[in-house]
């Protein structure tokens, strides 16, 4: 049933391109660029579950990524866990924390919710900066020996890349399955008009909490992989609000509420970012451009690229979700 839908295979195709492209010519630079694109896709498509489906702007989604990184690095460095187990355990731990945060902040709506999510991020950063088992403000360094089980540093980078591509694929499938499910219908109803949804019988508190927890899991796993790759994590890197803002720009650029939009937006944004960073005139200018881009999207194309594409070719709706 679900296999017959073209979009199911389009996600597979995207993963295949990510998997094969850097192999041709053993292109490490392309791999690094795609790795960052994959991380952006993971962040943006999970953010989209809250932002696009449920209509709640999560400005602090990077807190999941950072906390996931901390759990994973700590479990590996101090307790000697393997990478996969540590990253997944981090995902569960962060989802549980998201549930606890959600109990407090999911009662808020609109701008108040957005502000509260920034508060959560800043609060967690302040806590971690003073939490000695996690190295306080200096953070945690991992020994490079931890790369040995993955076949040495050079090979480990490839392994991490493929794991991130897998998490990216799971993110897109998760977004997709939520969208076509009854749960997703409830979230979309909440996004349109929360009070009307409740009167129609949508269990709004439970659905919002589930969406918030679900949107925390995969970014946390990705954070674990990402910070293991650098063998180093510190609070200012882990909870950098810039990443959050970029995730919002990406989701809006691609088209919030669509499954494919965040992926498209992430790829284009990463290309643009790479170009800006290496360009002589625009170097260090990248965030200004991101801000301007967000402004232009919100003002002139609230549906993002997907909205524009749908408007031009309405039939596309049946192929790209």
């Amino acid at each position: 049933m679900i296999f017959r839908r073209p979009f199911f295979w389009i996600i597979g195709l995207v993963m295949l391109v990510f998997a094969v492209a850097p192999l041709l010519g053993n292109d490490v630079q392309l791999r690094e660029s795609l790795l960052l694109a994959a991380v952006y896709i993971i962040l943006a498509s999970n953010l989209n579950i809250m932002l696009g489906y449920t209509g709640y702007v999560n400005f602090g989604c990077i807190v999941f990524f950072g906390l996931g990184g901390y759990f994973c690095v700590y479990l590996m460095g101090t307790l000697g866990w393997g990478l996969a187990i540590a990253a997944i355990a981090g995902g569960f731990a962060v989802s549980f924390l998201a549930f606890l945060f959600g109990l407090g902040i999911l009662r808020l709506r609109g701008a108040y919710f957005a502000l509260a999510t920034i508060g959560v991020n800043e609060g967690v950063q302040a806590f971690v900066s003073n939490f000695d088992p996690w190295g306080g403000s200096t953070g945690i360094y991992l020994s490079t020996e931890l790369f040995q089980p993955l076949g040495g540093p050079a090979r480990a980078l490839w392994v991490i890349y493929y794991l991130l591509v897998a998490v990216m694929g799971i993110s897109l499938y998760l977004s997709y399955f939520i969208k076509v499910s009854k749960f997703g219908l409830g979230l979309l109803a909440i996004g349109q008009n929360e009070d009307a949804a409740a009167v129609l019988g949508v269990p709004t508190p439970r659905y919002k909490a589930l969406a918030y927890c679900a949107s925390a899991f995969l970014p946390a796993v990705a954070g674990g992989l990402y910070f293991f790759k650098g063998a180093f994590i510190q609070p200012t890197d882990a909870f950098d609000l810039q990443f959050s803002t970029e995730a919002i720009v990406i989701a809006m650029l691609g088209g919030q509420g669509t499954v494919f939009g965040p992926a498209l937006g992430a790829y284009l944004y990463e290309e643009l970012r790479g170009w800006l960073l290496t360009s002589e005139t625009f170097s260090n200018f990248q965030l200004v451009i991101a801000g301007a881009l967000l402004l232009v999207i919100v003002l002139f194309a609230p549906g993002g690229l997907m909205g524009w594409l749908y408007g031009r070719w309405p039939r596309l709706r049946k192929i790209l979700e």
């Binding site: 499910s181 009854k182 219908l185 409830g186 979309l188 109803a189 349109q192 008009n193 009070d195 009307a196 949804a197 409740a198 009167v199 129609l200 019988g201 949508v202 269990p203 709004t204 508190p205």
Partner: protein
């Protein structure tokens, strides 16, 4: 006959205003009960108290024998009590059919998506929206949105339906059509509690009428009895035309 809905000594205070004051009434199975009263009498507040949009300050609400006082709206909906809004609340970017699917999915039957689609389509066709199934709800006319409110509530397959001024803002042809729809809903065995300002409609549809004034029960009885009740006529005297109309129709 047993009471589907029993409201007892219900009160709601908004600051210094007693919006509903010690109100008691029952809705019997399979009947259409009309709830009327001058503007600001507290009719919509009663609906909001019954379906849990806000909790009452005092009093109880029983639905089919179970206490639902202060229960959250989505639990009340799941129990089988659906409502429409006086100010229409469409899920604007979803299509008419999708709006109804939400109703069917999360209503009394708690249907899975596949079955909900069939029920939703049936409800939309029932109210006369068969030409508009794929139209985004935001693009409907007011009459269309009123029908959508009704279709969405019906798709939930409720035991009790609360209708909040579904006829307001419709032209005479649309009113006639809607009255027919409401009659047919009752024939399906659904009990109806309705608020309506259109006197000829409520007088001809209702089995019994409850009259509210300043949040208090003013009168109750058949349309005939209520229309001839001096207290009711007095309450409406601020609007003599309406009082006249009330008597003329009764």
């Amino acid at each position: 006959m047993s009471a589907v809905l029993a409201v007892e000594r219900l009160s709601k205070r908004f600051g210094g205003l007693m919006a509903v004051n010690q109100l008691s009434f029952t809705v019997e199975e399979h009947e259409i009960l009309g709830l009327i009263g001058p503007n600001g009498a507290g009719k919509s507040t009663v609906f909001n108290l019954v379906n849990g949009v806000f909790p009452p300050s005092q009093g109880t609400v029983h639905f089919r024998g179970a206490d639902i006082t202060g229960m959250q709206p989505f639990r009340v909906a799941r129990a089988g009590l659906a409502r429409t809004h006086q100010i229409v609340q469409p899920l604007t970017e979803m299509t008419v059919l999708e709006n109804c699917i939400v109703g069917a999915c999360f209503g009394r039957e708690n249907l899975p998506l596949g079955k909900a689609r069939a029920t939703a389509r049936e409800a939309a066709v029932f109210v006369g929206l068969e030409q508009r199934l794929d139209t985004p709800a935001g693009q409907l006319t007011i009459a269309g949105k009123k029908r959508l409110e009704l279709a969405r509530a019906l798709a939930a397959e409720p035991t009790l339906l609360l209708l909040d001024e579904v006829l307001a803002g419709l032209n005479p042809t649309e009113v006639t059509h809607m009255i027919g729809v409401i009659r047919r809903i009752r024939e399906r065995g659904i009990t109806i509690l309705m608020i309506e300002h259109l006197m000829h409609a409520i007088m001809s549809l209702s089995d019994r009428i409850v009259v509210l004034n300043s949040g208090q029960l003013l009168a109750t009885g058949t349309p005939q009895e209520v229309a001839n009740d001096p207290a009711v006529i007095e309450a409406y005297l601020g609007d003599p035309k309406l009082a006249e109309q009330l008597q003329g129709d009764g």
